[in-house]
Amino acid sequence: MKRVVAWLIWLGLASTAMAADEDKDLELIPRAEPAAKPAVATRSADSTARLYLEDALTFNTLRNDLLVPAPPPLPPHWEQRLLGDARVEWPLGPSAIVAYSGRLNIVAREGVGFPNRDNVTHDLRELHLSIEPRPRDYLDLGRINVKSGVALGFNATDFFKARAVVDPLTADPSVLRENRLGTLMVRGQHLGDDGSLSLAYAPKVTDAAPIGEDPDRGFSPLFGRTNASNRWLVKGSARLRDDINPELLLYGENGRTKIGANLTESVGRSTVAYVEWAGGRRLGIVDEALVFGRQTGAIPDLAPNVIDQGGKEQFRSQAAIGASYTTENKITFNLEYHYNGAGLSADDWSRWFAAGEGQSASSPIARQLWYVRAYAADRQEPLQRHAVFLRADWVDFLVPKLELTGFALADARDGSTLLQLSADYAASDFWSFGVLASATTGGRRSNFGSLPQASTILFKVTRYF
């Protein structure tokens, strides 16, 4: 009997202790009612907009012991950029919108006087009309950014990425996409309950602009970058199961066709695996660069090839295979393997260094060798054949609203790397401060170790409206 009484007393005490524990939680409830109501209720129904002003100051350090010297112009030692970025949609009725997305830059940099026509530039990313004539049937007309791909570091199926990035402030491939030019096109899309089909046609409206030169940059839409050939894209996706939604792509340019596929799959509660692949008949990237260089006058017609990849057109694949993993501490890791069947093999690299070693920066040989690298960068295509990409993103690092992001892109052949670390602090709903540091590492005969840019540091402040 005593035991039963003791047990009942213990139960009563335990229950009281538990209730007291629950009462402690009440102390954590903020006593103040929300003071300032967000503008969500008052925001204009006439348009949706995202506007910000950003000031970015960049310093570069350059290598002066390059095995193959880079021809001018070299990256500036410093650059100051004030930019106004806008993305606005205006409704034209219940089923039509006009969308604008662009950026106005005011730039001062080493080697560019002030005032100068290169000081003020405008990037017209998008300007298009979208209508929905029937529910979930869409027709878009104008300059449109069409993006594809599920990987973070390299999107083999992102066929419209080539030549679309201007003046990047970061080397992070997952952020590069934020300021890229759309393509002038007409696009139709049908969205069914369990899938989507879209067709896009982008006409040639002008000749290809030479790489690295935008002679009338200013406020030009730069169609010479985005609409210098006739292109088309058919893209379809289907929801086969709750969590399986593969995407297939068919792309055509200048009579050549590529196919592509994207697939993602959830693995457990913390991991997403993905694969992205594209393939088609084409030249190696060196041969392609030389053809393009001659077409645009960058390489004289009669100049001999300093380096080539055999000039053979064949079926070549590009792929990214990877996975993301998120920890309980709000860190997300992405690990990817990248393959470019058109990239440089070990032999190609040996010949690249052998051909350029000891040349002067202004020699035609060095110019041709570096033209190949500029061509690959301009097309956002990896020059290396095999690469490993690791990215980490830590939200609320040390303090709330501080986000730390870092990535490493390593050439699997020589181990050279491109590294970047950035921190962004959202000081309020309207102000952000950021710092970014990047560096290339590797030996003098390595991919990233042979680049003129050794390291970069960037400070930025952003005001959102």
Partner: protein
């Protein structure tokens, strides 16, 4: 028969008597959770605005706001589509939370990235998801007992204290402690735990008003249990029933969503 053997037999007998009772309780616990789910959200598709105010050490720090489209699917899970309206830096970002398929769309990069169940908890949008989740569909409930606890307004409430265990992969949290008021089935409080058993969030439901055809909580206080100086008050407003086509709940619809 030794004293220990007698005790063992008595315990076994008591357990055998208790088994059917436990089963009945488990069944009714599940019904309590389901009834509470119906108090929190309707079964018809709806649209709502969700304003979140974040506090650090009791001081208001920042705001975010979403427009939320929610629809119950055939398996009694809510499919959610959210668009950030505030703060300005995030305006236009969208999140699709549909069964086991979660996508994040950023209009700046115009790309959709698939995220894991764990990664969906990183952003504020997860709060919208947590508030619409049908706990009965994702968790197996058992009754821990009855308790009188204070609600967010420090009013005494006679509650069922329920223990919820994740029943499938779509469950956002591994374990939930849940207090539901007896008689009204109004949710009073929830404690949400990670896979490792760590207490992540404490949620108080409050301000029960007529909303979406019934009396439902219009506010939730979400306390970050990992860093208890952080808390968020979530307020539903502008709630209305709206047809939400199934076609909206796929990656390719994300760039097309118009919240006007």
């Amino acid at each position: 028969m030794s004293r220990q053997s007698k005790l063992f037999l008595a315990a076994a007998f008591a357990t055998s008597l208790a088994l059917p009772a436990v089963s009945a309780v488990a069944q009714s616990a599940q019904e309590i959770v389901a009834a509470s789910d119906r108090v929190r959200n309707p079964t018809e598709p709806f649209r709502s605005t969700l304003v979140l105010t974040e506090y650090v050490s009791g001081q208001e720090r920042s705001h975010s706001a979403f427009v939320l489209f929610s629809k119950l699917d055939a398996s009694a899970h809510f499919s959610n589509l959210l668009e950030y309206v505030e703060p300005p830096r995030d305006a236009g970002k969208r999140v699709l939370l549909d069964g086991r398929s979660f996508w994040f769309y950023d209009p700046a990069s115009k790309t959709s990235v698939r995220i894991s169940a764990q990664q969906r908890l990183v952003g504020q949008a997860a709060i919208g998801d947590v508030l619409t989740v049908n706990l009965a569909a994702d968790y197996t409930a058992s009754l821990s007992g009855t308790e009188t606890i204070d609600d967010a307004a420090r009013q005494k409430r006679n509650c069922w204290h329920l223990e919820l265990k994740a029943a499938n992969d779509t469950a956002v949290y591994n374990r939930v402690e849940y207090w539901v008021e007896q008689g009204t089935f109004r949710p009073v409080k929830g404690k949400f735990y990670s896979d490792s058993g760590r207490l992540l969030k404490i949620i108080y439901y409050r301000n029960f008003i007529e909303r979406l055809g019934s009396v439902r909580p219009a506010e939730a206080v979400i306390i970050d249990a990992v860093d208890s100086s952080l808390a968020t008050i979530a307020v539903f407003s502008d709630s209305r029933f709206q047809d939400v086509p199934d076609a909206w709940f796929q990656r390719d619809y994300l760039p097309r969503l118009q919240v006007r």
